[in-house]
Subunit: 121 residues, 2 copies
Amino acid sequence: MLAAVKMAKHHPDAKWVYEKVSREIPNISLGTVYRALAALSAEGLIREYRRADGPSLYDPNTEDHFHIRCRSCGRIEDVPPVQLPDDMLESIRRASEFARVDQVRLEFGGICSACAEKTRE
Amino acid sequence: MLAAVKMAKHHPDAKWVYEKVSREIPNISLGTVYRALAALSAEGLIREYRRADGPSLYDPNTEDHFHIRCRSCGRIEDVPPVQLPDDMLESIRRASEFARVDQVRLEFGGICSACAEKTRE
DNA sequence: AATGATAATAGTAACGGTTATCAATAACGA
DNA sequence: TCGTTATTGATAACCGTTACTATTATCATT
């Protein structure tokens, strides 16, 4: 299961993993795939990337990085980490009613080069 | 409908709006609420805030701002905009296979003061 | 080998949130 | 007033995920 996710060069969802793994364990069930993926993310071997507009994606890349999404085709790509202002979390904490601010979720949107060329035609 | 969302001092979801509006239009349907909320966001009068782990929230505040979420109770609060590095989008564009990078989604996580006090007990 | 306790699994039902469908009603214009 | 178009309420379908349950592995102990 881990191998299936790790071999993906994109960000597979549970169904993709299910189909991959089914080739070796033909009667595995989708529920087992979900359980295994949840266990792997709990162990930190992969990362679950929850989305509002579609299935969760499972990211073989556990290094610090962000994602960018093409708003035309929906494709998702990794981007390297960005240096954010050092005092950002602290200033957010001061500006809010929060006792602790320690998580940031950052993602980008745009048009991938493939889509940009398509619309140029 | 607009009034219902605007009067909320939090970020209501469709069901909340539905219950509010039902008091004045008793047999309105949830579908109509969804349609109206979608129309209002299309017009820019409110903003839809799509989430992975629960219903969409509708934000009466259309000014530039971000959100912070308490990972204990789930409550969501507005935070004022943060000044991000000027060259951020451009550097992401260079680091990616994207022709255009023009959207940023940023949100914060932490523990709200109410939850912080609860766990102190 | 046989047993029993424990865990894992497949299959499927249920769930929550949203969207689609469609007949009935309302609004509008000639 | 009539016919056309748009809007609505009611409900079914949808999608991704989780819960449930009966069955099957697993495995240590006799």
